[in-house]
Each structure stands twice: as C-alpha cells, then as structure tokens.
C-alpha cells in the first residue's frame, strides 16, 4: 500500500486508504446499476483498473479517495475524498455509497470530514463536485453540504453539473456549518429512535 495515506475518524466512521481486501465491495457496486452515474456499470477489468487508479491517485496527487468503514464493525459503506484526473478543471470532492448503506447519513458524515481535512490540513480554498444532473441523491447531498450549482464553471464534458462547495470561511462558525453539524449529529444519535420492528 502507498504509505502515508492519512486516517480520518468521525463519530461513526473511519476513513482509510483503499486496500486489497476492500476491492470486492467496490467491485460489487461499480459493476452494478448503481454505477450508472459514475461511468458504469463496469466490467470486472474496468472496475479493477479504476480501483487500482484510486490508489495511484494518492501516489501522484498526495490526496485521493478514502474507503469509508464502520468504526465498530469495519465493514465498508462507500468512498469519499478528493479526485483530480489530468486536466480536470478543478479539484473535486467525490463520493459513492454502496446501495445497501444509503440512507444513514454516512456520505454526509464522510464527505464533511474529508472536506474539513482538505480545507484545514491541505490548504484547499474550495472544491467542486461534478454530478450527473439525473443523480438526484448526489445533488441533494451536495446541497446538504452547502454546495450550490455553479452555472458558469467549466464542466468535465458538458454532461455534468458543477456544484461549488462553500469556502473555508463560509464554514467557520456560520449558520451553514452549524446546520451541517446538527444534521450529522442527528444521524449519529437520533432524537426519536424507533423502538422494535415495524410489523407491516
């Protein structure tokens, strides 16, 4: 493994570099319909090459995508981090959540942590997310993170929408920052926990 990939801990999650044993989880999602907004579904070869490239990105750029793990069980939920292929317009904050892990706020918690890491530890002064306009879940997540559609920014190939993340200053002690923090904390510790199982 490339050394020096930082580890980020949040209340529920641990973000670590992509490792060989996590590849089957990655492959399951990227060879599925879930990957339709990410250039997929891919075949086995393509998913392998992309996974290997995720690791190579850390080597070349010094940052990249982390694998999102459950802090207690270590199971993987998806990936989040920074992504910047050759000659892309801007650095991207990117994410993918395995279909069965959706709906728990894991992506929000992970991308928020990744963004804070890049802003505080790596001096990023902003970031964008390139999102397929049909990918409503991702657009919604970008908006919950405070990102706004930027119609003037260059796209990758014209088929994607650019969402611009708030600047580091816009996330320092602001109402927006508190709102994001509150939403994450509600996922971490819901005020109204359902008791028992639904019977219908």
């Amino acid at each position: 493994m490339p050394k020096n990939i930082p580890v980020i801990e949040t209340k529920r999650l641990v973000l670590r570099g992509p490792e060989a044993e996590d590849y089957p989880d990655f492959k399951a999602t990227f060879t599925s319909y879930r990957a339709r907004f990410m250039g997929g579904p891919l075949n086995a070869y393509e998913s392998w090459m992309l996974y290997a490239a995720e690791i190579g990105h850390w080597q070349i750029r010094g940052y990249g995508m982390w694998m999102i793990h459950d802090k207690d069980t270590d199971e993987t939920y998806g990936m989040a981090g920074g992504w910047m292929p050759a000659r892309w317009p801007e650095k991207e904050l990117a994410w993918v959540i395995w279909p069965e892990a959706a709906g728990h706020g894991y992506a929000l918690e992970a991308v928020d942590a990744a963004r804070r890491f890049f802003y505080r530890e790596r001096g990023w002064d902003g970031a964008v997310s390139y999102i397929d306009p049909k990918n409503l879940d991702s657009i919604r997540l970008a908006e919950r993170l405070g990102a706004k559609k930027d119609n003037d920014a260059p796209t990758i190939d014209g088929s994607d929408a650019v969402y611009r993340h708030p600047s580091p200053a816009a996330l320092r002690g602001t109402q927006l920052a508190h709102g994001i923090e509150m939403e994450i904390s509600h996922y971490q510790d819901p005020l109204f926990k359902p008791k028992g199982w639904a019977i219908d």
Binding site: P2, M49, A52, G62
Partner: protein
Amino acid sequence: MTATLNIPVIETERLILRGPHEADFEPFAAFGASDRAIWVGGPYPRLRSWGGFLATYGHWALRGYGMWMVEHRASGATAGRIGMIFNDGWDEPELGWHIFDGFEGQGLAYEGAKAARAHAARHFGLDGVISYIDPANTRSIALARRLGATHERDGAVAGHPCHIYRHPTAEAA
C-alpha cells in the same frame, strides 16, 4: 505529502526498470493514443490513459508486484512498460511488455522482459508465468518465442481473444 510505494529497481545493461514517475505520463499517453496500442485494447483517449497510468501504481499496492517503467539509460527517455500484470479477470499473473515508439528493434524488450521475468520468479514467487498475446501481434509473438515461451492454449483477456504463451521456469530458462 506524497504516498510512497516500495517498487524495486532493476538495472540491466541498457535499461533501468523502476516505478512510474509523473513525467512518464506523457510518453505513456502518447503510446496509448497511438496505433501501437491496438495490441493492448487501445488506442485510448487521454483520460483512459491517465486511469491506466494511476493503476500502474495501484497494481503494485494491491498485488505487491506490477509493471515497471522502462528507462533507457543512454537517453534517459521512457522506453516502455514491462512487468507482471494480474488484473481482475486474468487467469493468472502475466508477463507483459509495451515498447514505446522509437525503442523497438534493438532488443530492449527482450532485455527488459528477461530481467523482469527473473526478478518475478526470484522475488515474487511468480515462475513459469504466461503472456497473453493477440494472435496477429507477430512482433510480440516473436519476442515470446525468443524468451523461450511456447503457445500453450487459446484464451481471452478483458474480452479479447488471445493466445496464451507459457514461459519456461527460471531453472529451465
């Protein structure tokens, strides 16, 4: 802070086989975009080459072995990529060689592939390996034969029908 991988360095008479540097990307992408890449699933658009270039690193991280960039000692130029490939969908680890424009016809691929094969047998436990070769890629077939490999069976890799050549073990070679 850049991540680091411990990719071994192999030196031969005319070549240095080493891990990729970012400066290798331009010659790598030029190869990928050229007709020379028809034998490796190409030609590829630049973004695909970028992914393939990054994956060269990732392969080392995932498998503990991979492909080296081939540096031509005399000129310092990047002359190709040689080493072990075991992507998802491969039957077994493969010895592969890509020689960039301007560096063929000098026995460089033979020199590099022979050194890589010996290193893989000694250090990676990969001995008597295969090479997937397109049946129409006569120059690669000639090199495989010169390396002592023989046509073992027909197969396919990443959806492309291929001949599978089997290399002799280090002891037999």
